[in-house]
């Protein structure tokens, strides 16, 4: 099946052209109303397509294209598929360009190339439905997706991936993951984290799903768009965003080539103890429990090794004047 987004976009584009005609027949009009009512995403996609179709920007670009004629081909552009007509010999080009046979040939050629491009992925899409991945508590897990994107799942993380010819959609349920996304021109990559969604091109970023709906995104390479509550932010490499019930905050302290947790470290910078404990518990063999929840508000700064829970507790205890005990199933941290 086609991805929802691609299907909606295609319908929206069709409607945008149709509804901008001066006259519509009654049946199409009624059908349009039904379509708009059917799904809230329809109206948004339609608005975008209609805006595009009506824009002066498109008007200007088409004018320039028409003025330059069919020879207006920007050969400097290296990206993407390019349909090359079989007319490398220039002399007859200008004359032949607008004749019908060539147009027809163009159509046939173009459609057969497109068909070739699409057939294989479509079949793959059908055969590859949503796939779930879980990293057990206590250990990180590395996943390589079919497109070559690498996902590093922190212990206790859960997410699912749906690959279609048009999109790569990840739904994150829990935990933290570092995404190193393979650049693909025609396939978007997005991560849905419940109260926010992240759209990316080829890039590397980290998503942390924290307590009480707080979500943190950190970008290490490329550009990421985060959308939450109807507002969007663009995050270049080296920046991040924290979305919580208290609001949205920019994070400007994203350093290094990838998050420290992948290498087994945690950089606390005026971080709450609750957060640190949450982090420890993702990879610790036994969870750490706070004797008094109020202790969670304690502010911690420092670089901690995550795979040595005892060593870490020892350090914490020494620096912040705390005590820790080892029980059979967990560690207890108290004042």
């Amino acid at each position: 099946m086609r991805s929802d987004k691609a299907e909606i976009e295609s319908q929206a584009a069709t409607w945008a052209e149709l509804m901008n005609r001066p006259l519509q027949d009654a049946r199409a009009a009624a059908e349009f109303d039904r379509w708009i009512s059917a799904d809230p995403r329809h109206v948004e996609s339609y608005a975008e397509m209609a805006a595009l179709w009506q824009s002066d920007g498109l008007d200007a670009a088409l004018r320039l294209s028409a003025a330059n004629g069919p020879r207006a081909r920007n050969d400097n552009d290296q990206q993407g598929y390019r349909w090359t007509p079989g007319n490398s010999g220039a002399p007859h080009r200008a004359v032949a360009a607008r004749t019908l046979p060539r147009s027809q040939r163009a159509a046939i050629l173009a459609s057969s190339i497109l068909l070739l491009l699409l057939t294989i992925p479509v079949v793959q899409g059908i055969l590859a439905p949503e796939q779930s991945y879980t990293a057990a508590r206590g250990a990180n897990r590395m996943i390589v997706l079919a497109d070559g994107s690498k996902l590093n799942l922190s212990g206790g993380s859960r997410l699912s991936v749906r690959m279609t010819p048009w999109s790569r959609d990840v739904r994150m349920e829990e935990g933290e993951a570092y995404f190193d996304v393979a650049h693909e021109r025609f396939r978007s990559f997005s991560v849905d984290v419940g109260n926010a969604s992240i759209a990316v091109l080829g890039t590397a970023f980290d998503v942390d799903m924290m307590a009480e709906g707080t979500r943190e995104v950190r970008v290490y390479r490329g550009l990421v768009k985060v959308e939450a509550g109807g507002t969007g932010w663009r995050l270049p490499a080296g920046s991040g965003l924290s979305v919580s019930k208290d609001g949205v905050q920019r994070l400007n302290n994203v350093l290094g080539a990838r998050p420290a947790w992948i290498d087994g470290w945690f950089d606390a910078q005026d971080t709450t103890l609750a957060r640190l404990v949450d982090r420890i518990n993702r990879t610790s063999d036994r969870p750490v429990v706070l004797a008094d929840p109020a202790l969670g508000a304690l502010r911690i700064t420092g670089r901690f090794r995550m795979n040595e829970t005892r060593e870490l507790l020892e350090t914490l205890a020494a620096v912040h004047d705390l005590r820790w005990e080892e029980e059979s199933t967990h560690y207890v941290l108290s004042r």
Binding site: P40, G57, L62, S65, N74, P85
Partner: protein, 185 residues
Amino acid sequence: MSHSDRLLDNGIRVAAPNEADKQDWRAVQVALVRYIRARGARTDVAEDIAQETIARLIVVHRDKRIASVFALGFRIADNLLVDHYRADSRLADEPEVDVVSEAPSLDRALDSQRAVEVFQRCLNRMPRLRREVLIRRRLQQESCRVIGEELSISTKAVEKHITRGLIDLRRAMERAGIDPAVWNA
């Protein structure tokens, strides 16, 4: 409004002015707000314009049957939005409240020089036939049927090229980071 009026209106259940069926108009209003926001307006502006649009729709609806409530609603909203921006541009620039989202409005984004360049590059990369179809349809306002006849392809194929062309353009915009609505709160 008679009973037969309700039946005449395909798809949409309509309300007589006196016993206004609130549920239906509310649904239209919700869709309008979404639409206007997706066109780049702030939420408060979108709500005002949706409200005003609904008021006008109800007036029109009193006198005649509306074939497509949404199509008419969107068109009214477009015009009101243009009016709003026109009025707004006369005022001095207000300081942006939200510092993190620093985006231009949808139409300003789509009409910028950069957008034109992105569209142009995208058009240049398109199959020639598709580009030709877009130019004839959008610029020369030729009907799909006429374009099909002239290029010896079916009307359906013409429509497909337009749809596909629009999607190509939209993707090009997304890739270039010229994203509409989303970037203004």
